[in-house]
């Protein structure tokens, strides 16, 4: 599997480390306990498109949001996690 780092270009997956689901958002601090349990422990396991966080750990060390099909490993999109987070906070504001 190869991931096209937006800063370095396409690299082998050995340069990247995987964190997990990129769609999670931390609940508000006054949210009920159940919301936090969901945020911390419960994950979907989709057969198909999944957005996930990867770090280009032995490259430029950027965090990336990778859209990957879990059945075929086909990667349809790679974005800098920073841009995704900024867009998300702009959307919330």
């Amino acid at each position: 599997m190869r991931i096209a780092c937006p800063h370095c270009g396409p690299r082998g997956v050995d340069e990247f480390s995987y964190l997990g689901d990129a769609t999670l958002t931390r609940p508000a601090s006054d949210a009920p306990e159940a919301a936090f349990a969901d945020y911390v422990y419960f994950r979907d396991n989709p057969a198909g498109e999944h957005r996930e966080l990867w770090q280009h750990a032995s490259g430029c060390q950027s965090w990336l949001v990778v859209t990957r099909d879990t059945r075929t490993h086909a990667i349809s999109q790679v974005e800098a996690a920073r841009d995704v987070a900024l867009a998300r906070s702009k959307g919330a504001a």
């Binding site: 800063h7 370095c8 060390q61 950027s62």
Partner: protein
């Protein structure tokens, strides 16, 4: 009075001081001991100020992509978004630049690999395409060589490659390169 700090090679106690080729050397391995290094990071919102200061002080544009620019004794290599590895063969002080500057002269080691078989030797350690059409003089790559994180650039068309790694990994990286070069006529010598 404490003794003055003396820069010492991270390799001398750990590797054979000389490995010579029989006949013509296909690849030459050396340690660069003449470089001052500094990692420079742009502060958020002040990227332009840093670029302007570098242009004014050194007459070069900070590369925004994986390139290395040289200006006399000074060079700036891209080291990730908003980060650069500055090097100088002279007594250059980078600390006045408006960014987060940390001296790396003793924190990193720089190994130079050159000669007609340099590309072939590095190809056994690095999983990137180093063919001139993909990677040429002035290009930089952040990758790993034999699982050791390196900043790699090509500095001339000999070709000469330079690999920058954290100091404590230098001896292992040196031995990997010496091993990979053994069948390609390596000439490895400590400075």
């Amino acid at each position: 009075m404490p003794e003055a700090l003396i820069a010492k090679s991270p390799l001398r106690p750990h590797v054979a001081s000389e490995v010579s080729a029989h006949g013509d050397a296909g690849v030459t391995l050396r340690e660069r001991l003449d470089l001052r290094l500094a990692q420079i990071s742009a502060l958020r919102g002040r990227e332009q100020e840093l670029a302007d200061a570098v242009r004014q002080a050194f007459g070069v544009e900070l590369p925004a992509t994986s390139k290395r620019v040289v200006s006399g004794p000074v060079a700036f290599a891209w080291a990730g978004p908003g980060r650069w590895l500055a090097s100088s063969t002279a007594e250059t002080d980078f600390s006045a630049l408006p960014g987060a500057v940390s001296d790396q002269s003793d924190g990193r080691a720089v190994l130079s690999v050159s000669g007609p078989k340099a590309r072939e030797t590095l190809a056994t350690l690095i999983s990137l395409d180093l063919h001139p059409r993909a990677f040429a003089t002035g290009d930089v790559a952040l990758t790993h060589a034999a699982s050791i994180a390196v900043t790699l650039w090509q500095s001339d068309d000999a070709p000469t490659y330079e690999l920058v790694c954290f100091r404590t990994f230098a001896a292992t990286l040196w031995r990997w390169i010496a091993h990979a070069g053994a069948s390609r006529g390596i000439d490895a010598k400590l400075g």
